[in-house]
């Protein structure tokens, strides 16, 4: 990549930054971000942040990536955060710049991603006057931020930034917005960065209650048919190792939600795949027949539970979560346990004894064998599942994978064999089309020497395709895979199955030639329409040191199976016809 490598924050640099100089709000912002260890910021300038961008111009230590749309900037910051665990940072101007961030903020909020989102606003005397490019962004984003600040005094800025990073990255993580009026970014104050954060109304519980952990262990010991439902919380708490150790010690099979999928190695015999609407037969049967369901960092999302009345009907439910409000929100919980997943598992593993689960594990193994994930392959037309399997096999699960939203996302979850936490980056809660490609840019910025594959549909990739420009200009070597079925596939599938083949506005005719589109941006473009071409161009893409767009032209009418339709329990699955 041609981006300059970020400076590591060492003691010498810290001392320099901490000098109590009288500086502008913009300089305070940049110094504070550097002190928080921020090495890359994604953003887009505009009138209300001109002082901030002027300060950047003068500060050689500050690394900023100019995207082509604010949405690209925030999804990139999101991908950066999900793949590292660090706080992602993006900057946009007031009004339209700020409102262009809204989808990205909601995406991060739904999936508990730590972001600090900085917006400019009109100068304080203009606030409330419908001034040029004014938007009440703190008001607009209140329901989709963990917290937000409108800075009224430049002196408050260091404390606010310190608090914002603390709030974003602790407890249940999430986006925090800091709205900085233009005059605040130009006014001066003596720089003083607080050592400590003290917020009276904010004390997340991270250490679990020992009695609750004991109750959980007792329940496991007595269980004959236990299942672990592992979610994004496992990944975010960096508890992949702890979960593996715990599951093996207690001998409990593990099903992983879409966000938790990289939290447990897919090759492990205890892993049974993803549950829910497009989950594996074994996962859904395991949940429906278990006597103990242990949710670890998962929130019983409706795409996992489907019809709640009839979900896990025979199970006692234990729920480990850092957010107490998730416990009991959707399902009645017998054993609640509030705490950071890593802390809970570290404590639990010490005294854990195995469940009486040998026969149950065999039963699940039989289900896995009887009803594996499958698709009808073809030698004439390229199948999307084949492409994903090829990506998985050629990378041996060692790549970072981001997805967009739709059928390809489900196939990626089903057919890519993940090995390491944080390697699956996907918008699960909000289901944001346009997320996958810019998120991959953020992942690649954080991991310059790793292979980053962005799997997209031909619909979603067009929602942020403009970011090809920054891949080209900065040589960000993301492999942009397009599973191109010339149709909004997931919508088409629903219209076929639920709306009696009434295909309404799903045809994406008029899409550009993606190879030419890539080339227009100065990015390598490749295309495959059959298996042989697919293998060849994918190898070519892997061998190419820079960014590549690979247009895999696949079967138009391919459905994701298994499928549970709305209103059914996860025990009632459509398995698809593969004969």
């Amino acid at each position: 990549m041609s981006m300059k490598s970020p400076k590591i924050l060492n003691d010498e640099m810290r001392e320099k930054l901490m000098q109590p100089d009288i500086i502008t709000g913009s300089d305070i912002l940049l110094r504070s971000l550097l002190l928080e260890g921020v090495d890359t910021v994604f953003g887009y300038p505009g009138g209300a942040v001109l002082f901030i961008y002027d300060a950047m111009h003068k500060n050689p230590d500050f690394n900023h990536l100019l995207t082509r749309h604010e949405q690209g900037a925030i999804h990139a910051a999101d991908g950066y955060a999900r793949s590292t665990g660090k706080v992602g940072v993006c900057i946009a101007t007031s009004g339209p710049g700020a409102t262009n961030l809204v989808t990205g903020i909601a995406t991060a909020y739904m999936d508990s991603v730590p972001l600090v989102v900085i917006t400019g606003n009109v100068a304080l005397p203009f606030i409330g006057t419908d001034a040029f490019q004014e938007a009440d962004i703190t008001g607009i984003t209140m329901p989709i931020t963990k917290h937000s600040y409108l800075v009224r005094h430049v002196e408050d800025l260091p404390r606010i930034i310190r608090e914002a990073f603390h709030i974003a990255s602790t407890g249940r993580k999430g986006p925090v917005l800091i709205d900085i009026p233009k005059d605040v970014s130009s006014h001066q104050a003596a720089f003083k960065y607080p050592d400590k954060v003290s917020i009276r109304g904010y004390n997340p519980t991270v250490m679990p209650n020992k009695l609750q952990v004991d109750k959980l262990l007792k329940a496991i010991e007595e269980a004959e048919r236990p299942v672990i439902l592992a979610g994004g919380g496992v990944v975010y708490a960096d508890a992949g190792k702890e979960l593996l150790e715990f599951a093996e010690k207690v001998q409990v099979p593990v099903t992983t939600t879409l966000l938790g999928i990289s939290g447990f190695p897919s090759g492990n015999p205890l892993w049974i795949g993803m549950p829910g609407m497009h989950g594996t037969y074994a996962s859904n049967q395991a949940i429906q027949n278990c006597d103990l369901l242990i949710s670890i960092g998962a929130r019983f999302d409706d795409r996992v539970t489907m019809k709640l009345d009839g979900f896990a009907p025979k199970a006692k439910i234990a729920h480990i979560d850092v957010d107490p409000a998730e416990i009991g929100k959707n399902v009645i919980t017998a054993i609640p346990c509030v705490g950071d997943v890593k802390n809970v598992l570290q404590l639990a593993v010490q005294k854990a004894k195995p469940a009486q689960s040998a026969a149950w594990i065999q039963q699940i193994r039989d289900w896995k064998q009887e009803f594996p994930l499958r698709y009808k392959d073809s030698d004439t037309v390229l199948k999307p599942q084949f492409v994903i399997e090829m990506l998985s096999e050629t990378t041996q699960g060692e790549a970072f994978v981001t997805t967009d939203v739709g059928q390809h996302q489900m196939w990626a979850a089903q057919f890519y064999k993940f090995k390491h936490p944080r390697t699956m980056i996907t918008s699960g809660g909000l289901g944001t089309m346009g997320f996958g490609f810019p998120a991959a840019i953020g992942v690649q910025m954080a991991h310059p020497n790793k292979l980053v594959i962005s799997i997209n549909g031909d619909g979603g990739v067009q929602m942020c395709a403009q970011e090809l420009a920054i891949c080209a200009i900065n040589n960000i070597p993301v492999k942009v895979v397009i599973i191109n079925n010339q149709v909004l596939g997931m919508v088409r599938q629903w219209q076929e199955i639920i709306y009696d083949n009434r295909y309404s506005h799903i045809d994406l005719a008029g899409s550009p030639d993606f190879v030419k589109l890539a080339e227009a941006y100065g990015v390598k473009g490749l295309r495959a329409t059959n298996k042989e071409e697919a293998r060849r161009v994918w190898q070519e893409a892997l061998d190419h040191p820079g960014p590549v767009v690979i247009d895999f032209v696949v079967a138009r009418e391919e459905n994701v199976f298994p499928m549970v339709t709305q209103g059914k329990t996860i025990g009632e699955m459509l398995m698809g016809d593969f004969e």
Partner: protein, 163 residues
């Protein structure tokens, strides 16, 4: 589960937007607000909100937990689970020609309410009490013709004996 009325006391940072954060949360999560009052508290920099809401125990638990997630919320207390004092104030402007005023005064005195304004053909009655008392007062004054009515919503506190 049974849907009942709950009175919740919420101690919050006196910050711009805090009322919006709390009321927005109720709106977004489809919790009901029957009344909401906000004012200063015993501590500088903190305000106290009293929200009267309805819901079953599950809803009440969710309200409490979700409120605690608001960074500016310091303390949430379901005070209606304790013996409490709840008071509301109402101002009721009614038609009152001079000849009918002694009759109205009789009602006002019985309710330990007071007349706080006298116009050429109107009176403003101020009444303080629990919601039921104010409802009753309003019913009794209706026949005279209510021109304008404003109620504060309940503010409330746990009784000393319960603490």
């Amino acid at each position: 589960m049974m849907t009942i009325k709950h009175t919740i006391s919420i101690l919050v940072n006196d910050q711009p937007g805090v009322l919006q954060r709390v009321s927005g949360l109720f709106g977004r999560r489809a919790f009901n607000i029957e009344s909401i009052t906000v004012g200063s508290s015993e501590e500088t920099g903190l305000s106290r909100m009293i929200i009267v809401t309805t819901g079953d125990n599950h809803t009440l638990e969710q309200i409490t937990k979700q409120l605690y997630k608001v960074v500016d919320v310091i303390k949430v207390n379901n005070i209606s689970s304790n013996p409490m004092v709840a008071r509301e104030l109402a101002l009721i402007q009614i038609n009152a020609e001079p000849t009918i005023r002694p009759e109205i005064l009789g009602i006002v005195e019985t309710f330990r309410a007071s007349i706080v304004d006298i116009g050429p053909s109107t009176l403003i009655v101020q009444v303080v009490g629990d919601s039921e008392k104010i409802d009753a007062m309003v019913e009794l004054l209706k026949p005279y013709g209510i021109r304008e009515l404003t109620r504060t919503g309940a503010t409330a506190m746990i009784r000393g004996i319960a603490k």
